[in-house]
Structures are given as structure tokens and as C-alpha cells.
């Protein structure tokens, strides 16, 4: 339910996992930021996150928001792609009972949701256990 404009602005992050690395302290932020919370520096260099990682924690959503209700139950997990660099995504193409903390996953480009009213299809990544 983000607006179409917000979706379009954030495509580089959602589709291509574009992140930012602080030029001063080297910390990586996803999504990219304007200020580094660690060192207050404001210069970042762009980079794309790796598409492999492991599950830090997860859940199975059984009561879902309406635009996801046709997918329920579905798993969601926080995936760490580099030490300290994480994102939240669905965990798919697997047995929901077999998901574990520490499990290695690949991040694949998938459809995330449809906005029924405006007909916008939104894409991003989903985690598939390797």
C-alpha cells in the first residue's frame, strides 16, 4: 500500500538491491541514506548488495493484510547478506516447517504485491532457501 510514486522512487533499492557505503566509516546501509548514523558523514558510494545471505529470524504470517491474503500462509524473514547488512523479505519456494535460523538463501526478483485499486504491480526480492 505504498503509493505508486514511492514505489517508483525506490525501484533501485527494491529491484537491484542498491545500497550505500559510508565513505568515512565504510558502513553499508540498505536502503542508501543521506547521513551515516555511526559517524554523521554524508558521502556514500553506491553498491549493489549480494543476492545470497542467511536467515536471522523468521515467522509464518497466517493472518495477512488483504493484498497478501491470497498468499497466506507465507513466511517472512530477516536476511543478512553481509555482516550487519539486513533486509526483510518473504521466504518462498520451500516447506514452511523447514525454515530455520541460519539457513542460507538466495534473493530472487519476484512480484511482491498488486494494488487492486490502481492496478500497479510491485516487484522486489524474495528469499529462496538454497
Amino acid at each position: 500500500m505504498i503509493t505508486p510514486a514511492e514505489y517508483v522512487r525506490e525501484i533501485p533499492a527494491h529491484h537491484r538491491l542498491e545500497a550505500g557505503r559510508c565513505k568515512k566509516c565504510r558502513k553499508i546501509y540498505y536502503p542508501a541514506r543521506q547521513v551515516c548514523p555511526e559517524c554523521q558523514a554524508r558521502e556514500f558510494e553506491p553498491l549493489s548488495l549480494p543476492r545470497e545471505g542467511k536467515i536471522v529470524t523468521f515467522t509464518v504470517i497466517r493472518v495477512a493484510p488483504s493484498q497478501f491474503s491470497d498468499q497466506a500462509p507465507y513466511a517472512m524473514g530477516i536476511v543478512e547478506v553481509q555482516p550487519g547488512v539486513r533486509l526483510l523479505t518473504q521466504v518462498v519456494d520451500c516447506d514452511l516447517d523447514k525454515i530455520e535460523i541460519g539457513m542460507p538463501v538466495s534473493l530472487e526478483f519476484r512480484k511482491i504485491q498488486e494494488d487492486g485499486e490502481k492496478g500497479v504491480l510491485a516487484y522486489g526480492v524474495k528469499a529462496v532457501p538454497r
Binding site: 536471522v56 529470524t57 515467522t59 539486513r86 504485491q113
Partner: protein
């Protein structure tokens, strides 16, 4: 696990909690500037802020009452309890009257319908911590001297939209673009905290359930609670799954409700109390500590998923201002939006050692009659969670307890209480410490 000692074994509120020394663990570093800026009340102003009156509606599905009616009902109760006839200004905590009711600008609406013509009024929003944030604004206003009698209220009317509409409105407390967009719900976010806590610290499903069981037991003694039935661990564990490992009975409900308190300076309070026989016989309740902090809005941006840093920061500020340690607190109302939340909050408050919060409810430590009763009101779980009103309702319960007005759920010799209210997955937090004078 070695550090955990069942609190019931301790016999007095006045003994120092043995966990204290490790409880605010050393990995928390406070930003330098914050420490520099931070001064205790004594350093800066000589005003003391008192809660003179409290009021609230029962939590529930108030089909017949509008947003403005609910607020006015609670505000009038607080005004009557305080015995004031006029207020100098108002703060209103409300998370999303825009999405729940199609109504913003409720500062004007509520001042108008409360019959307080032209009074300054401000709405404060910090998701589910809106009420606590409003309370801090009122505290600050009395400290600043701009007004001496301030009404702080909170209100949320959540049942005017469908459950899906309410789920959406609540999801706006998370990062809409990097969390909600991917399909997560609030139970889902807290479920991921729970899973990580269980995995790292061995917290059990039963321990989660014990939080809900305790809070329903407390709620059964509170006439203002939305749910007054007792529940069992078995019922929690076998209730409908919402987001594994959390079930419906791990979750606070959707609630309509409002609450309000009247704040004033201690000097003014004495004058009012002298003229009000019912107040004269009861202790005045003073706010001795206030703390507020934030954390990343997105759960996945935090170094430690199980650690509520905003809670720890806010608590540290409040403890410092009040000159108290966690072991000095006699009872607390904390933000148990989900059972796992109460567990992590107790750790962040320094009431339980990191990772050991799961044992608090299970051991009876936080139950009525235990070493440090938590959520004697029933908490968000049983009393209900009208999100913007919750932080103020916590203060209402502490005042009732410190005045000895809590009936069957009265904590004996309660003189120091704490409220902890947070927004989102802990992206914002407000803590207050209150003492009976």
C-alpha cells in the same frame, strides 16, 4: 540463566534488586551530546509536576460512541477526579485518527467538544507511544511554566474500520516502504523478535503464554479492562495462530478507548487538594522521572533484533532524573502489545537480566503478589490497547495504585511506579517514574 533469582524470595520492596549491577549492560553507549544536555529536574527548575487527577473509559468496542465522545468522557472523569474547573492547555495522544476516523486536527476538535474554549491544544503522535509522548509534553509544559494546569489525554477509536483497515492503519507504524510493503504485519514483526529470543536465549512458548495468562488474571480484577476472563497457558498455546510463534492470545486486541490525566505544579496541587476532601486524604503522585528515545523504525536495521534500545535509553534517562534504580521500582505498567514485548521490555528496563525476561511471568516475579508486579491493570493484553490512549492509561493505573485505590489488584505499599510505552517495534519509547509523596 545463572543470574536469575526468583523475585518472590525477596521479602521487601526496599531491598535492592541484585540484578541491577548487570542489568543495564555495558554495550549501551549514550550519545555524548544527550548526556551533556541532559540535566535532572533539580539542576534546572524547581517546579515539581504532580498528577492531580485521572480518568479513563473502559476498553472495548464502543459502537455507540464517537471519537470525540470517548475522549470527552475520559477527560471529564480526570477533571472531576482532580477537582479543577478549568485547564490551561491540553495534549492529546492519538496514533491515527486520520486512517481510523478520517479526522485529523483533533486538538481543535477535542478542546471544542470538551467545552474548553480557546485553550491551547496539541495532538502528539508516536504510533503506539503517542499517549506516553503526550504525557511527556504535559510534564514539560508544567516544568516550563507556560501553563500550570495541563490536561493530557489519549484516544483511539479503532473499530470504525474493518479488521483489514485496522491492520493497515497499524502497519503505518512500521517502515511502510521497507517493511509493510513486503507483507509483514505487526504480529509478524514481533513474532520475529520472539523467534530470535527463543533461539538465542532458550525462551519457551510457555513463557510467552505466561505473560498473557498473568495479564488476564490482573485484568479480571480491573473494572476498566476490555477482557475480564482468566485464561490458561494451554488456551494461549492452542489459540488461533497469527504469526508463528504468536497466537491470537499473545496479541493485544483492537480497542476503542480514551484516558486522561490532569498535571499541575506541586504548589497548585496543594491548593486544590486542600479544597478537595477526597484528594486530601490520599498521597499526591509526582512525576519524578521522564525519558524518551528512538530507535531505527525498521526492525531489521537493528544490530540485535531482541534488544529494545529505545526502551533502555528512555529508562536510563528516567532513572537518572528520578534518582532511582530498577530495583527501587515497586510496580510497572509496560507495553505488552505482544507477549514477547513484555519480556524484552523487562530486560531493557533492567528488571530482568538480558535474555532472562521469559522467566519473569513464569516465576511469578511480575505477578500481583510477586517481587515487582507488572501490568496490574491487565496490560494492553487484557485492559485493551486503544493505541494512542495506552500511554496515558498506564499512568492512570499507576496513580490508582500509588493512591491505594486499586481494589482487588492493589499492590501493597506501592510508592514508586513506572510506565513504559513504545511505538512500532520499539522505534520510539517513553518512560515515566511516578512516586507517592
Amino acid at each position: 540463566m545463572d543470574y536469575w533469582i526468583v523475585g518472590l524470595l525477596m521479602d521487601s520492596h526496599l531491598t535492592i534488586n541484585p540484578f541491577i549491577h548487570q542489568s543495564i549492560h555495558p554495550s549501551i553507549h549514550y550519545p555524548k551530546q544527550m548526556m551533556l544536555n541532559f540535566k535532572t529536574t533539580e539542576d534546572t527548575v524547581n517546579r515539581e509536576v504532580v498528577i492531580l487527577g485521572v480518568g479513563m473509559t473502559r476498553g472495548g468496542e464502543h459502537w455507540g460512541k464517537s471519537l470525540r465522545q470517548l475522549f470527552v468522557e475520559a477527560a471529564l472523569a480526570a477533571i472531576d477526579d482532580a477537582g479543577v474547573d478549568r485547564i490551561g492547555s491540553m495534549y492529546i495522544g492519538c496514533m491515527s485518527s486520520g486512517l481510523f476516523n478520517g479526522q485529523e486536527h483533533i486538538a481543535s476538535l477535542m478542546a471544542d467538544y470538551l467545552g474548553q474554549k480557546h485553550v491551547p491544544a496539541t495532538r502528539v503522535e508516536s504510533a503506539c507511544a503517542s499517549g506516553g509522548a503526550a504525557l511527556r509534553m504535559g510534564f514539560m509544559e508544567v516544568l516550563s511554566g507556560l501553563n500550570e494546569v495541563v490536561l493530557v489525554g489519549g484516544v483511539e477509536k479503532m473499530t470504525d474500520v474493518s479488521t483489514d483497515g485496522a491492520t493497515y492503519a497499524l502497519s503505518t507504524a512500521a517502515d511502510q516502504t521497507y517493511e509493510s510493503f513486503y507483507g509483514v504485519t505487526f504480529p509478524g514483526l514481533y513474532a520475529m523478535i520472539a523467534r530470535a529470543h527463543m533461539h538465542r536465549y532458550g525462551t519457551t512458548r510457555k513463557q510467552l503464554a505466561e505473560v498473557a495468562v498473568k495479564n488476564h488474571l490482573h485484568g479480571s480484577m480491573n473494572p476498566f479492562a476490555q477482557y475480564r476472563q482468566k485464561i490458561t497457558v494451554d488456551e494461549v498455546i492452542h489459540s488461533t495462530a497469527v504469526a508463528d510463534p504468536l497466537n491470537i492470545l499473545d496479541c493485544s486486541p483492537i480497542t476503542d478507548g480514551a484516558s486522561a490525566v490532569i498535571l499541575c505544579s506541586r504548589e497548585i496541587a496543594k491548593k486544590f487538594a486542600n479544597g478537595n476532601p477526597s484528594l486530601r486524604e490520599k498521597p499526591l503522585v509526582k512525576i519524578t522521572g521522564s525519558g524518551q528515545a528512538t530507535d531505527t523504525i525498521a526492525l531489521h536495521s537493528r544490530q540485535d533484533i531482541t534488544e529494545l534500545r529505545a526502551v533502555a535509553e528512555a529508562a536510563q534517562q528516567a532513572y537518572k532524573m528520578a534518582g532511582k534504580k530498577p530495583g527501587d521500582i515497586h510496580l510497572a505498567e509496560v507495553h505488552d502489545c505482544f507477549t514477547i514485548a513484555e519480556i524484552c521490555v523487562l530486560e531493557a528496563l533492567g528488571v530482568a537480566e538480558k535474555g532472562q525476561g521469559g522467566k519473569a511471568a513464569e516465576s511469578g516475579y511480575t505477578a500481583l503478589g510477586g517481587r515487582m508486579p507488572v501490568n496490574t491493570s491487565g496490560g494492553l493484553k487484557a485492559k485493551g490497547h486503544p493505541v494512542g490512549a495506552t500511554g496515558v492509561a498506564q499512568a492512570v493505573e499507576i496513580v490508582h495504585q500509588l493512591r491505594g485505590e486499586a481494589g482487588d489488584r492493589q499492590v501493597k505499599n506501592a510508592r514508586v511506579g513506572l510506565t513504559q510505552n513504545m511505538g512500532g517495534t520499539g522505534g520510539s519509547c517513553v518512560v515515566h517514574i511516578m512516586e507517592a509523596l
